[in-house]
Amino acid sequence: GAGVSQSPSNKVTEKGKDVELRCDPISGHTALYWYRQSLGQGLEFLIYFQGNSAPDKSGLPSDRFSAERTGGSVSTLTIQRTQQEDSAVYLCASSFSGGPSYEQYFGPGTRLTVT
């Protein structure tokens, strides 16, 4: 079956522009996560969706970042007025359930470069 897919794979944008990153989770997975991976660093949690519950937005670094998940499936991460420090790989993951014991399945990531 298909894994988690993300698009685009690479995105170069100018400082100040808005960008949208897309994630298609594995069919049937109710939980979806966004992470940011900066060069040489670990994964920084951004936001977590579980079913129809309100998302956990506690990791979003600023109000320029937002995410939505439509129909419990596809998710879009939006970064407004991009800054150079937003340059990173943005990873999406999904899991069968939102419980802490469930492994996460990761997409290949979107590499964002802000010039």
Partner: protein
Amino acid sequence: AQSVTQLDSQVPVFEEAPVELRCNYSSSVSVYLFWYVQYPNQGLQLLLKYLSGSTLVKGINGFEAEFNKSQTSFHLRKPSVHISDTAEYFCAVSEDTNAGKSTFGDGTTLTVKP
């Protein structure tokens, strides 16, 4: 709050040598522990996980890890590495009371030399 420390940022080893990648965590409640691997230009994939029961957990590609509650550690080991094991390895912890939110370490780059 949960946290994860991977004690080595880079581990160079020769092919067929044993390797240990160290991971310590901090949490005040029951935890679940994971090791993920990220091969060059690929996404993260699960290597192994500890949920409960036996403290020695075996994963894919000959890797194993041991959960040590008293030392709050979950070190990853392999008795004999291959060139193909060159990758970045991430330790992650999730708390029993914190839904699915996992905290990841900063990663350890394993480089296997011929």
